[in-house]
């Protein structure tokens, strides 16, 4: 018998006498938050800030100026750009734009100052951004190596309240990266320090349309 068969046989013998276990009762809450768009936007901003991300609010027409400001303030000379990022977003910035490409080595990426991406969705209750490697987000590694990540969330369309609301909207066959605040460690006497390996600075732009004005 090969190892696979051995293990499977051992499992079958181990639980042969065990009683059947019913499907899990899922009577936990589908969300902990009233399903009101403004409440979700506020809660997301609050929880992101609580975990040391820097949150900005803006509109489509003012986004390019804001991006230019944030990149300049960071001293950014070069910025990584996923292939599907709307072109006009970075039109006001003078930083050199480097298109995400599989030919870049990790060392190449290490010389870039910032990265700008969209996201698949954001979860308000946990302050989490989920990236699914779609064209406006690019390969997983581009949001890892540069020290500065700016992520743009369409509010309120891309914001869900809770994990139970997020799961059905995500495609598990895509590689997903869930980001809650910048990289951090608490390994030294449980003091939280930002930025061990991932970006030390995470900025989130909540992008609203002006239609409500």
């Amino acid at each position: 018998m090969n190892t696979r068969e051995t293990i499977l046989t051992r499992i079958r013998e181990a639980v042969a006498q065990a009683p059947e276990v019913p499907e899990p009762a899922r009577d936990y809450l589908p969300s902990h938050t009233p399903n009101d768009p403004q409440t979700l936007v506020n809660l997301l901003a609050e929880n992101l800030t609580d975990y040391r991300a820097i949150v900005h609010h803006t509109y489509e027409d003012t986004l390019p100026d804001l991006l230019n400001q944030l990149l300049s303030a960071h001293g950014t000379q070069s910025v990584l750009v996923p292939p599907g990022l709307p072109e006009h977003w970075l039109q006001a910035s003078n930083a050199q734009q480097i298109e995400d490409s599989s030919t870049h080595t990790p060392h190449d990426l290490d010389t870039v100052d910032s990265v700008v991406t969209g996201c698949a969705l954001a979860i308000a209750e946990t302050g989490t951004l989920v990236l699914d490697a779609s064209p406006d987000q690019g390969r997983r590694r581009i949001t890892l190596i540069p020290d500065h990540h700016i992520c743009i969330v369409r509010a309120p369309d891309q914001i869900v309240a809770s994990l139970p609301q997020a799961m059905p909207r995500l495609d598990p066959t895509r590689p997903l990266t869930w980001i809650s605040g910048p990289s951090a460690t608490s390994d030294i006497e449980l003091d939280r320090v930002e930025g061990v390996h991932g970006p030390r600075t995470l900025e989130v732009i909540l992008l609203s349309s002006r239609s409500g004005d």
Binding site: R10, V15, L29, I188
Partner: protein, 472 residues
């Protein structure tokens, strides 16, 4: 399990050493008290905590009942997505598989994201024997590795080290492994983290092979899930060309949706955060994003034997959050090393003797490394009744006759000494135990005790009374 722990003295002997080390005790006390207070706040945010805990328990119980079909489904999905699945019955087989996979790549070094399964099987030592250097990249694991030390906590492996000790370890040993620490390294956590960032970055950027564990494997989709904080996990999971994940067979869960439960309970129980900074999920390989080759090694190594024990199998529900360590009065005093295993604390006391059997002194003594106060059960996000399993394992050890009996006596003697609690605790245990049925959420007038931890479900008989009666 790992050869590292061969010849470990029994728990009471090892614990005595820890109890006599005031620095270690102070480090541990500070860390466990900080983290358990934060955890209580994070858990209190969720009105449905009890229901999430129950759902987590039920999902895991159902998983264990159907482990064979779920593993086969997982294998199918991982393979269809471009991964290769290997099965390993024990540590030796797992180490052989991984070593061969690394050798095939032609590489002589690998980067590792913290993984208890690879520690359990002693993978680093096996790779070293084959001439392959394995670099631990989690900050705490780096501290442990550079200090030629062993981890002492599931979540914070270097919990026994303070900042001064860490500074000295970095200053003296980093240079031997790669980029040295800066000459003016201070003991501020920010400076130490920066030194680790620079030291490890050169390794990440050139790494061709990464080795990981996983927190969960989703049978329905073939997706693996890793939760982490620092980004070293993402580095290891996405930059190398080959990724090898070694995962215990009990880490499978049936469906993608099940993650909605564990992604709520695990971070809050473990680091007391709403969510850990980074979670990565991947399904096989993806064109030009991440590793081109993915190998999954499914590890038994005593798990099927544990599964066969009706009472003990609940230990396989464990999601390694470490909450039980932080509330355990014995762990707080004895420290993680005394448990002689990668799994310390209450979960270690029930998992190690089941995975390894109770032939050795250390494993036969572990079921006695507890006051049975019940705090570990109370905080466990998958409701493992650790005291129940401990009592069950004590019976098994005692049944084996002479040796067990002798060990029980030594263990009791040491435990009595370790548990040299303030009188308030003794009184609290006794009073509360008598009123167990009427037990309120907080005990009025006993705040010196209850303020410092979640109120546990109490044992029928206070440990100290039981001990007095049985110590002869």
């Amino acid at each position: 399990m790992s050869g590292t722990y061969l010849g470990m003295p029994s728990f009471p002997v090892a614990a005595r050493e820890a109890v006599n080390n005031p620095t270690l005790r102070a480090n541990l006390r500070h860390a466990t008290h900080t983290i358990r207070a934060k955890r209580a706040v994070a858990v209190a945010e969720l009105a449905d905590w009890a229901l999430l805990r129950e759902a987590g328990k039920q999902i895991k119980d159902r998983t264990l009942r159907h482990l064979d079909t779920l593993l086969v489904e997982l294998e199918e999905k991982v393979t269809a997505a471009g991964g290769v699945v290997h099965w390993a019955a024990d540590a030796e087989e797992a180490n052989r598989i991984v070593t061969e996979l690394v050798v095939e790549t032609g590489e002589r070094e690998v980067v590792k994201v913290k993984s208890m399964a690879t520690q359990e099987i002693g993978l680093n030592e096996a790779l070293e024997a084959a001439g392959i250097a394995a670099y631990e990249t989690d900050l705490a694991e780096l501290i442990v590795q550079l200090g030629e030390d062993r981890p002492s906590h599931i979540l914070v492996p270097a919990i026994h080290r303070n900042r001064g000790e860490i500074r000295d370890i970095f200053a003296t040993t980093m240079g031997e492994w790669g980029r040295p620490a800066p000459d003016d390294l201070t003991d501020s956590p920010a400076a130490l983290a920066e030194a680790a960032r620079l030291h490890l970055r050169e390794k990440f950027l050139r790494a061709k092979v990464g080795i990981s564990g996983a927190n969960f494997m989703v049978a329905e989709t073939g997706t693996l899930v890793v939760l982490e904080s620092e980004g070293n996990g993402r580095m290891c999971l996405t930059l190398p060309e080959t990724l090898i994940s070694v995962v215990g067979i009990e880490k499978v869960i049936p469906s993608w949706r099940d993650l909605e439960v564990f992604l709520q309970t695990l971070p809050r129980s473990s680091t007391a955060e709403r969510m850990n900074p980074y979670t990565s999920t991947w399904t096989g390989t993806t064109d030009s994003d991440g590793p081109k080759a993915f190998h999954l090694v499914l590890l038994d190594n005593g798990r099927t034997a544990t599964l066969a024990d009706e009472v003990g199998r609940q230990a396989l529900r464990c999601i390694r959050c470490s909450a039980c360590l932080n509330v355990c009065p014995v762990y707080e005093r004895a420290g993680g090393h005394a448990y002689g295993s990668v799994y310390p604390g209450p979960i270690g006391a029930i998992l190690s003797p089941q995975l390894r059997g109770t032939q050795s002194d250390i494993d036969a003594s572990l079921p006695y490394a507890s006051s049975l106060c019940g705090a570990c059960y109370e905080v466990c996000p998958v409701a493992i009744d650790i005291p129940e399993v401990l009592v069950h394992l004590r019976e098994q050890v005692a049944e084996k006759g002479g040796k067990g009996h002798r060990l029980e006596k030594t263990a009791m003697k040491a435990a009595g000494w370790i548990l040299n609690h303030p009188a308030a605790l003794t009184a609290g245990e006794r009073i509360a135990s008598k009123t167990r049925a009427l037990h309120p959420k907080t005990v009025p007038g006993a705040s010196a005790w209850t303020d410092s931890r979640d109120l546990p479900a109490l044992p029928e008989q206070p440990f100290r009374d039981w001990w007095k009666k049985n110590r002869t």
